[in-house]
């Protein structure tokens, strides 16, 4: 029994160590003074602050970072607002077209972006939104996942609570804002987090719709980083590290919601 416990601890330390090795390599190369050592095994001084200073002093990284933040926070807030309203209504209110809408949401969950990007691009082009923020943001603004997540969560709101409010004479919008939204808070935080992380990683759509460097978010910027004048391997790695910081902070702050979002559907009966 004792030997088994020790063996298990050793295996876990080795496995988790291997899982962290590339992260360690990132830290080492991102802190290097120059490009000469790319092994990522041994720290050669700690030049991370200077490297970050270089990236923020010249080049486009601050622009990419700003664009990504605008994109992710902007669409994240909109997704939370619209999904909260629709998810609650679909779970708790009876109105014409409810079934059709639910079928539409479930249907879109199954679609792959590879099918949609071509016609959505043509629509965005028709609207004159190519190379604009609204072109990058609007098509990814609401996710079927979000509406579905809120709906599943809103099914758990006790009917009596809503009924009591109605008997007291509260209007439906007031009930939604004052009773439902506070109860839905955990689901809405989870949705914001999932949305933010997914958009932070979104390369395909901005790549298609934004050709102007001024508009690029981080994934597109990083893809073109090597071709920027004077940018080298260790600074590219520093840029990758900077890109990883906001998701990391969010994850630390909202760890519980992150796990809840990841396991949604996996644990539900």
């Amino acid at each position: 029994m004792r030997a088994g416990t020790i063996l298990r601890a050793v295996w876990l330390l080795v496995a988790v160590g291997f899982m962290l090795l590339p992260v360690y390599a990132m830290l080492v190369v991102a802190s290097a003074p120059d490009d000469t050592d790319l092994r990522g095994l041994v720290f050669n001084g700690f030049h991370l602050p200077e490297n970050i200073g270089v990236l923020f002093g010249e080049g486009n990284l601050p622009t990419y970072l700003r664009n990504s933040l605008v994109l992710c926070v902007g669409t994240g807030v909109l997704d939370v607002m619209f999904s909260a309203a629709a998810g609650y209504a679909m779970a708790q209110l009876s109105f014409p077209g409810r079934r059709v809408l639910f079928a539409l949401v479930i249907g879109t969950l199954a679609l792959t972006p590879m099918v949609l990007v071509i016609p959505v691009f043509l629509i965005v082009k028709e609207l004159g939104w190519v190379n604009t923020f609204q072109g990058m943001m609007v098509p990814g603004m609401i996710s079927a996942f979000g509406v579905f997540l809120v709906r599943q969560f809103a099914l758990g709101i006790p009917k009596e609570l809503l009924l009591a409010a109605r008997v007291d004479g509260a209007g439906e919008f007031r009930i939604f804002a004052r009773i439902a939204v506070p109860l839905l808070k955990p689901a809405l935080i989870t949705l914001f987090l999932v949305h933010f992380l997914a958009q932070w990683d979104n390369l395909l759509w901005p790549l298609i719709v934004a050709n102007e460097q001024e508009l690029w978010p981080l994934p597109v910027g990083l893809a073109n980083f090597q071709s920027e004048v004077g940018v080298t391997y260790h600074l590219t790695t520093t840029a990758a590290l900077v890109t990883a910081v906001p998701p990391f902070i969010l994850m630390v702050a909202l760890q519980r919601y992150y796990v809840a979002g990841l396991t949604f559907g996996g644990l539900k009966r």
């Binding site: 330390l13 539409l104 609401i142």
Partner: protein, 293 residues
């Protein structure tokens, strides 16, 4: 009551429509219409410039004579199988001991989240360095006497370089999901098994795996779907090369649609990918449902 019911029904209907209208309009404009348009485009010769002409099944026939498509479809199959299976097996091997209580495990569970939240673009840039000539991969293999390789520029190795990176990236996520699933399993079953003198292997195959089936199905479905639509690793690490060796289907569709503007043809390939994904998902659900009896 019936009067009260009627009085209540109207504001509910108004509020319901008002609260869902933005979402309904959005889904029609950015999901339903594009989906129908994609079906239509797949039967045309649309090339961005000019108007679409109906050409019937010609795009679908062309696909099965197009070496580029056949190559991409095959690479996608290899890539999907070789990323999904090792990821789930390895994640399970880590998650089972990791889900046990203890202070060390609590720390390790927090650490496992770090690779899981690494953005894919950042991950790809780091692995470009790891796979470079004097990078970590060659250095570590050198310690066990393996000659340095050109991971990303060799047409034999590039796909495996991608696979290793993706396995690493998804493992973090799946360890978290599986650990949460394992921690939700009822402890009494394990106590009963221990009293009956069940060994670790028997407990795992007879108790843990069956109880974990729903979580495993979830992980399997999302990882297969993720691998079948994976675009970013091929785009960032290898650009589909060398010599199309890592040109997965999503990459080939993107390349046809945007740089080359063969939108009709790309739409048809997108449809084939969608149908393949639906069939594969249905098979997975059927397979795991079938095991319920």
């Amino acid at each position: 009551m019936s009067v009260l019911g009627r009085v209540r029904a109207r504001p509910q209907a108004t509020a319901g429509v008002a609260l869902t209208l933005p979402v309904a309009v959005f889904f029609v404009v950015f999901w339903l219409v594009p989906f129908l348009a994609a079906i239509y485009l797949s039967f045309t010769d649309y090339e961005m410039a000019g108007t679409p002409n109906w050409i019937g099944l010609a795009n679908y026939e062309r696909m099965f004579a197009d070496p580029g498509f056949l190559n991409s479809a095959w690479i996608t199959v290899v890539y999907t199988v070789c990323t999904v299976v090792p990821t789930i097996v390895l994640a399970l091997l880590v998650a089972v001991p990791l889900s046990k209580p203890g202070r060390l495990n609590r720390w390790l569970r927090a650490l496992v989240m770090i690779p899981a939240v690494m953005p894919l673009a950042a991950t790809s840039m780091v692995w470009v360095i790891i796979y470079s000539d004097h990078g970590m991969a060659n250095t570590l293999l050198g310690l066990v006497g393996i000659d340095p390789q050109s991971w990303l520029t060799s047409s034999d190795l590039a796909i495996w370089a991608l696979v290793v990176m993706v396995v690493w990236k998804s493992m973090g996520l799946f360890v978290i999901i599986l650990t949460a699933g394992l921690q939700a399993l009822p402890g009494e079953v394990y106590e009963a098994a221990a009293i009956d003198g069940s060994g670790a292997v028997t407990t795992f195959t007879r108790i843990t795996l069956p109880l974990l089936r729903r979580t495993l199905l979830f992980v399997l479905v999302i990882s297969v779907a993720g691998s079948m639509q994976a675009f970013v690793p091929a785009f960032l690490l290898t650009g589909g090369g060398p010599a199309d060796a890592t040109q997965v289907l999503p990459y080939y569709i993107w390349a046809n649609a945007f740089p080359y503007e063969h939108m009709g043809y790309a739409a048809a390939m997108g449809m084939v990918l969608l149908v393949a994904m639906v069939i594969v998902s249905a098979l997975q659900f059927g397979f795991l449902k079938g095991g319920d009896e």
